[in-house]
Amino acid sequence: MSGNGYTADEMMSVAASRELRDGVVCFVGIGLPSEAANLARATHAPECSLIYESGTIGAKPEVLPLSIGDGELAENADSVVSVPEIFNYWLQAGRVDVGFLGAAQIDKFANINTTVIGEYDEPKVRLPGAGGAPEIAASAKEVIVMLRQSPRAFVEKLSFITSVGYADGGDARGKLGYPGSGPSVVITDFGVLRPDPETKELTLVGLHPGATIEAAKEATGWNLKVSDALETTAEPEERELRVLRELKERTEAARKAG
């Protein structure tokens, strides 16, 4: 809890929600991205259209879904289609403006691992696997990533590349032929990272109130570059905090009842 009554996780969700412009079509990953996207929908982006990989288009959940296919998502959706249709006619077709992803590990070029920690055949930790992430990372016009910053999550070398950010950096992604332009921002509990326009290396461009460059560097497994024009994230507004907390309370209540 920071001085004026909000947690670093709340700051992260608020900062991530602000990245979502109103009216966009957003393909939402479960967990933190879903929280941030629904916060955006409930505040400054009421007209954004949320797509979940289970096939719901224009989902308007009142509580956060526990899984990617909760009934809540279908209830008031503009349309519900099959899984092939979501991946082929929407995502691969370039109809998704923003892909909103979480991750277990990320590297300096915003490549993502959600498959294994350690060797594939003898994993230290077997993670859930790819799910929809590789194609979201490939085909959404732009990708927003959010995850908590730590040396175990922000690593020099991924155990496994599940989803491609900027590959080896520079113009490496372009050569892969994917329709989307890659991650535009990574939001953490410390601040905001964006790819360098040339090298595509993730660079710290913003710090949340109370966070320090030193702490952010310590939470990063590579030598984190810091922008000359480092900004400070605006604190959560009262409305943002209230809406976020109400959303989480409703979710917790529904989960206990359900």
Partner: protein, 286 residues
């Protein structure tokens, strides 16, 4: 043409040891009752195919039914790991589990290819990821018109597909609505199929986003009320999130798991008894 038969009979006749089987249902309508019947009938050496293995395959893997798993996301959604799946992959218990791992888009298109009687599907994916290094069933393919290179994945053609739906009519046509995920493609890609339903009705009402599986495309339809529990059946019952959370400690421990399966699956007659038995232990909220 579908026959309306008991689930025990359907599983006995349609699922054989060594089969590849696809139990589908994307969070919604997961065919737990049919999976329990497979466990009770001690089917073995199955190749389990499913986008999201979920608790349903955690139970089948832990019970020793599986030889191989073909999947794209293996977790307990919103809770954590599938411990029986991890124990099989990491430690080979109760037996080694071969895995074949894809992305959701890859799995979905593999089902579409199978449903279309094509040997492969094409998509924009996998390039630059490590998946092609560990998964043999991914290969480049070149467009004969543009010269562009894309990725191909082979069709999924399970021996058996198993899905759960809300309703069947008396001729064996099946209606499902809400999130219907990959179920149609799974059924159409398979050589044989079993559909469990909440109930049989005289006529279907129009429902938003309803999918009909015509009787002529199905083999067996079995009536199993609550057959998707602890997942949900839209307009029938909600997901029992508490069961998903309660599963975590059960699945975490080999002995605890074996005892649970013995008490609640092997030691009961059918899914109705299963539900009574877990309710008696306070594991059901509904």
């Amino acid at each position: 043409m579908a026959e309306i038969v008991g689930l025990r009979e359907a599983v006995a006749e349609i699922v054989a040891d060594g089969d590849s089987v696809a139990f589908e249902g994307f969070t919604h309508l997961i065919p737990f009752a049919a999976a329990h019947e497979v466990i009770r009938q001690k089917k073995k050496d199955l190749t389990l195919i499913r986008m999201t293995p979920d608790l349903v395959y955690d139970q089948m893997i832990g019970a020793g039914c599986a030889r191989k798993l073909v999947f794209s996301w293996g977790g307990n959604p919103g809770v954590g790991s599938l411990h029986r799946f991890r124990d099989a992959v990491e430690k080979g218990w109760p037996k080694p589990l071969e895995i074949e791992e894809h992305s959701h888009a890859g799995m979905a298109n593999r089902y579409v290819a199978g449903a279309s009687n094509l040997p492969f599907a094409v998509l924009r994916g996998y390039v630059g990821t490590d998946l092609p290094k560990v998964t043999e069933t991914i290969a480049p393919i070149t467009c004969p018109f543009t010269g562009e290179e894309l990725m191909a994945v082979p069709a999924l053609t399970p021996d058996v597909a198993v899905v759960h739906a809300q309703q069947a009519d008396r001729k064996g046509n099946v209606a499902m609505w809400g999130i219907t995920g990959i179920q149609k493609e799974a059924v159409f890609s398979a050589k044989r199929s079993i559909v469990t339903v909440e109930e049989v009705v005289d006529e279907f009402e129009p429902r938003p986003f309803q999918t009909i599986l015509p009787s002529v495309a199905l083999d067996a339809v079995s009536v199993v009320p609550n057959g998707a529990y602890p997942s949900y059946a839209h307009d029938y019952y909600p997901r029992d999130n508490a069961f998903y959370e309660a599963w975590d400690p059960v699945g975490r421990d080999r002995d605890g798991f074996e005892s649970w399966i013995e008490r609640h699956v092997l030691g009961v007659e059918d899914f109705a008894e299963h539900l009574e038995s877990i309710r008696a232990e306070g594991m059901v909220k509904q």
